[in-house]
């Protein structure tokens, strides 16, 4: 079955015709050409496909595209404004919060959601916020540090 849907992604409104079984991740990557959110597992275990849906972190591989009708979505591509990097992105660069980089778009989205809930999170809160984002390089310590430093810089 086909669905006509409309949503906002990174500030831009889009209209699409999608199939019932298509995931939000497929639509974002294949129809909209935004390849920041990554395929990692398709079962919601790795967080590489994380996006913000109405301000909440979701695994876009588990959201059916028709469910996104009317929503406001943000991917990693929407973090920087006018070529100016987001403080989180800058901090990840400065503090080695990225190694192979495949998990980075999802990590940044989870971090962004955390910082909009809590402006100055403790290490424990950051660990908890990232528990659904796997990093095989094991860069967690530097990712946590990157987020802590960025949260301080924002003040």
């Amino acid at each position: 079955m086909k669905h006509d849907i409309t949503f906002t992604i990174n500030g831009e409104s889009v209209h699409l015709t999608v199939l019932s079984h298509q995931t939000l991740l497929e639509v974002i990557r294949n129809d909209l050409g935004l390849t920041g959110p990554k395929y990692g597992c398709s079962t919601g275990e790795c967080g590489a496909c994380s996006v913000l849906l109405d301000g909440e972190v979701v695994n876009s591989c588990l959201v059916l595209a028709p469910e996104a009708d009317g929503a406001e979505i943000m991917t990693v591509e929407g973090l920087s404004e006018d070529d100016e990097l987001h403080p989180l992105q800058k901090s990840f660069i400065d503090h080695h919060g990225v190694q192979c980089g495949y998990c980075a778009p999802g990590m940044l989205i989870s971090a962004k959601a955390l910082l909009s809930r809590t402006s100055r999170p403790h290490e424990e809160e950051i660990r908890e916020a990232l528990v659904g984002n796997l990093c095989r390089c094991g860069a967690y310590a530097d990712i946590i540090k990157s987020i802590q430093v960025a949260s301080r810089a924002r003040r």
Binding site: K38, G40, I93, H96, Q99, C100, G101, L134, G138, A141
Partner: protein, 773 residues
């Protein structure tokens, strides 16, 4: 001495490609843009272990709407392998392991490809299979490769196919029997380690497109493009020069994207379609079921100690379950043999390394893991020996550890190294004390343990490493190398080195993605130890490039070259104080004719001393680990409270980058020691997602991690540096195992250390104590 802003060696330096990765524009598997002409490939994998099989419905599937091409083993019967061709590209009649490819299809969409494969029925007739080391070695076990002697490369291995011995490497010195007979203490134990998954976050994938009649371009996410080019070309009977591999961003490899797994199938199917690009991108389940595993280990270790506290002998037999292919594990076996006695100067040693064929999916080494597993055995054994003799495990290590000048192999004298500093500094970081045993609060007991590590760095005999630098007005400074950045900071190192040597601002420097079209390198071109090999090649290239630039300006200014230097992007004359921006020089030259283009190349050719086990041994990376754990004595639950990891990197060219690698090693060490284990049922993996095969999350991190950088310069390395990333976790598991023993009094000799294993060992211990009363 002029102070330089471009003095970036030994200073914090970010990954050069970090910004692209953090804005979502880096190109990983599945991200390549090819438009509507792109076809999608899918593979039919065997779900069963050893069996005879028939495919039905192949012709109907081939005619299915949207199918561009479909291949089975009957269409393309060919073998592949880098050294020994012990795998088939597509199985014919007999499946050797669950996960073996049976067919590959390219279609207009992924759905169409899946529908086509769904039309193929597989009829299996089960055959007896051997899935573990014991059953593979049992008398009358079915041989996995009865026709191995006919495979290309059979002369390169020490094999006995009829009893499933795929390859053997051995090393002896002294007289072990005699030394053990006269030793004051002799200890004999067996240690095991489970098979693991590399599990990079980016699953395997890429795009291939036929070029004209016989050529092929592949856009691949591989660590070893030259190796892959050779293996794929050979399997498809192509001239390697007709296959070009352009590397893309690699979303983690850890060794799984070195040797060819599904890439050969992508190449094969792309050659069947008419110049349209074909994409393959595995699902996570396929990645778990069908790419590579790491081999399970069984280590039987005997050590002897004299009454003076000297370890006088070691006998160690390391058996590895390499599944149905040993090809990817051959060079690792050489490293295992060299590391197999542990980081000790033991006068009598007998080390045997055996690869055992079974009907499981092919094995490939993982980032330092095999050497880490060797240390899981040796470094727990040394603790057990220390306890037996009533000495401190640290003191025993200090008395016996290998030192600079020790000659343990005929062609190799140990260099100055930081092994002792590594273990001492990690011990200090967690406040390890020799007399400290367990601390208990309620049901929870804590304890601390130590381990050391050494990991051989080999240069493979025929591999050269190349680097070319070009400076011109348009692109400023472009670098072409033959290694690949997989997140370890390789491109950052290249940028630092060039910036330092040529005194150029870092913004001028661009490292090109590695492309087999740039060099006709040997397939053994290096994919490890890149800092060393590329560093040495780059030092040649930068020296030549600097000479070219200064020579050009010397003629232009009519000043002797010895007056001139490059300082912060400007050519200056110390004599006349003239200055000229290199940028202006590149864009305008002398003002007459075309502006200059400077181009220089460097080649590093490894010196291989002899065609022997140690002939290609270049150095040892040394490490130390110290762990504090807490164990619930009622449930067996294990928490790593703190983990300190130290490595001697010679000279930390990018200190924060080194620490980032160490911290990553610490997390992977925890993950592999506590959580990871691949499990099978009738030879088919049942750990097929991150629920059944958990890897460490932020919830599994130790409360405290201590990365420690030790710097004892390596005289032959660039700036005294030594490679790190492949060796970073050696010792972590044993330190945790030794800490668990101190906390609980039970010794776990099987990896991973699960709560169940601790619980069972505690139950056995309790019964033994009762029985003794």
């Amino acid at each position: 001495m002029v102070m330089r802003k471009t003095h970036v060696i030994g200073k914090p330096f970010p990954l050069v490609e970090a910004q692209k990765k953090l804005t979502g524009v880096s190109c990983y598997a599945g991200d390549e843009r090819f438009g509507p002409e792109l076809l999608h490939a899918r593979i039919l994998f065997s779900e069963r272990g050893h069996a005879r099989f028939r495919l039905r419905g192949v012709e109907a599937a081939r005619k299915q709407e949207g199918v561009a091409a479909l291949l089975t083993g009957r269409d393309l019967h060919t073998r592949l392998g880098a050294v020994i061709e012990d795998r088939e590209l597509l199985a014919v009649d007999e499946v050797k392991y669950a996960g073996q490819p049976l067919a590959v299809v390219a279609a207009e969409s992924t759905e169409a490809a899946m529908q086509a494969l769904a039309m193929i029925q597989i009829e299996y007739e089960r055959l007896p299979g051997v899935y573990d080391i014991e059953s593979a070695l049992a008398p009358n076990a079915p041989p996995v490769h009865p026709h191995m002697a006919s495979y290309r490369g059979f002369d390169q291995v020490q094999a006995e196919p009829e009893r499933n011995l795929a390859h053997q490497v051995a090393f002896q010195r002294g007289d072990v029997e005699k030394a053990l007979a006269s030793a004051a203490f002799v200890l004999d134990h067996t240690y095991t380690a489970a098979p693991l998954q590399h599990a990079p976050m980016e699953t395997h994938g890429g795009v291939a497109q036929r070029q004209g009649k016989g050529g092929l371009i592949m856009w691949m996410h591989t660590q070893a493009p030259f190796l892959q080019r050779e293996v794929i070309a050979r399997a498809l009977h192509m001239d390697p020069k007709d296959l070009r591999i352009i590397t893309q961003c690699v979303g983690g490899s850890f060794g799984s994207k070195v040797f060819v797994s599904v890439e050969g199938l992508l190449a094969a199917i792309a050659r069947e379609v008419d110049n349209r690009p074909v994409r393959l991108h595995l699902t996570r389940e396929e990645e778990f079921r069908a790419v590579f595993m790491t081999p399970a280990m069984r280590a039987r270790v005997t050590m002897g100690l004299d009454d003076q506290g000297h370890i006088v002998a070691i006998r160690a037999i390391y058996d590895w379950n390499v599944g149905a292919s040993v090809d990817a594990f051959l060079m690792e076996m050489q490293r295992i043999a060299l590391a197999g006695a542990g980081p000790y100067a033991i006068p009598n040693a007998d080390i045997q390394v055996n690869a055992i064929y079974t009907h499981l999916l092919p094995a490939a080494p993982m980032r330092g893991l095999s050497i880490a597993q060797v240390h899981w055995a040796v470094e727990q054994h040394v603790d057990e020996l220390a306890e037996m003799a009533g000495v401190s495990p640290l003191a025993l290590r200090q008395r016996n550890l290998v030192k600079g000048g020790d000659q343990l192999f005929p062609n190799f004298v140990m260099h100055a190294n930081g092994l002792e500093s590594c273990v001492l500094e990690t011990a200090r970081a967690i406040d390890w004390q020799p007399d400290h045993q367990r601390e208990a609060s309620g049901a929870v007991a804590s304890g601390k343990g130590l381990a050391m590590g050494w990991s051989p760095i080999l240069v493979s005999p025929h591999c050269k490493s190349r680097a070319t630098i070009q400076c011109d007005g348009e692109n400023l400074c472009t670098v072409i190398v033959d290694g690949v950045d997989v997140g370890q900071g390789y491109y950052a190192f290249i940028t630092q080195l060039i910036s330092f040597e040529l005194n150029f601002p870092i913004e001028w420097i661009t490292v090109q993605p590695t492309d087999t079209g740039n060099y006709d390198s040997d397939w053994r071109a290096i994919y490890n130890n890149l800092l060393w090999s590329t560093g040495r090649a780059l030092l040649q290239a930068t020296a030549e490039l600097k000479r070219q630039i200064l020579s050009y300006v010397s003629e232009m200014w009519e000043e002797p070259m010895t007056n001139l230097d490059i300082v912060e992007g400007e050519v200056i004359s110390y004599a006349t104080k003239r200055r000229l921006s290199v940028l202006t020089l590149l864009q305008e030259g002398t003002g007459e004719g075309a502006p200059p283009v400077f181009r220089a190349a460097g080649v590093y050719e490894p010196e291989v001393k002899a065609e022997s086990l140690d002939g290609a041994l270049q150095s040892f990376a040394t490490t130390g680990y110290a762990a504090e754990v807490a164990v619930n004595l009622e449930t067996g639950d294990l928490t790593v409270l703190q983990l300190a990891g130290a490595a001697d990197v010679g000279h930390a060219i990018n200190p924060e980058g080194v620490k980032a690698q160490l911290k990553g090693g610490i997390i992977q060490g925890v993950s592999q020691t506590l959580l990871e284990e691949m499990r099978f049922k009738d030879g088919a993996p049942v750990t097929i997602d991150f629920m059944s095969y958990p890897i460490a999350t932020t919830a599994d991190m130790p409360q405290q991690i201590h990365p420690i950088v030790v710097e004892i310069p390596q005289s032959t390395g660039p700036y005294g540096a030594r490679d790190l990333s492949n060796h970073v976790l050696v010792g972590a598991s044993a330190a945790i195992g030794n800490a668990v023993y101190r906390a609980t009094g039970v010794r776990i000799r099987e990896l991973p250390i699960t709560p169940q294993r601790i619980y069972d060992a505690l139950q056995t211990q309790a019964k033994t104590v009762e029985g003794n009363c």
